[in-house]
Symmetry: C2
Subunit: 105 residues, 2 copies
């Protein structure tokens, strides 16, 4: 198993934000992988869980890095900061966890 650092980001959006607004945020987030070399992998999707314990979150993004140094370069990167400007007016809740992926206990 390749040693990878997962950066899991959950969002919910304001009731006042339109589908187009939210699509713009997703597009801007997805585009970061073209702007920030340290992003090793990116994926996202909208919640389709059936247990009803998503705690209000509707969108999940998974950014994968190969080192904490790469994650630390990503966070203050100008393109990431610009994304934050796009996001901010529409953001309701946010949650972020990072973990080094292991396959066994």
């Amino acid at each position: 198993m390749t040693k990878v650092l997962r950066h899991i980001v959950l969002f919910s959006f304001k009731d006042t934000s339109s589908a187009d607004d939210i699509q713009g945020v997703v597009k801007a987030f997805a585009n970061l992988k073209n702007e920030i070399d340290e992003i090793h992998d990116f994926e996202w999707g909208t919640d389709v869980s059936v247990e009803n314990i998503q705690q209000g979150f509707t969108h999940c993004f998974q950014v994968t890095f190969l080192s904490e140094a790469d994650r630390d370069a990503y966070l203050p990167h100008p393109a990431h900061k610009a994304f934050g400007e796009t996001l901010q007016p529409h953001l309701d809740q946010v949650l972020v966890v990072d973990y080094w992926a292991q396959d066994s206990a």
Copy 2:
């Protein structure tokens, strides 16, 4: 990109639960991939994020399925139910989101 359904599970544990208790939960969760054929992939890790918006969560688990039918077989599976019994006394917070992984907006 293979079409995969991610099942992201976040836990925090009770203050009264010991490191051994928590290790037991992680071990039981990791062992589900040996007991439930529908699990396509499994990984986990403890939070090492630096943004301080993990909202109290300390552990992240990622279970990957190839279909909603497989996820729907997993949820009520006896081995998953037994894991729930191991987890319950130690669980503080839980959050689950599922999403179909996409690589662009």
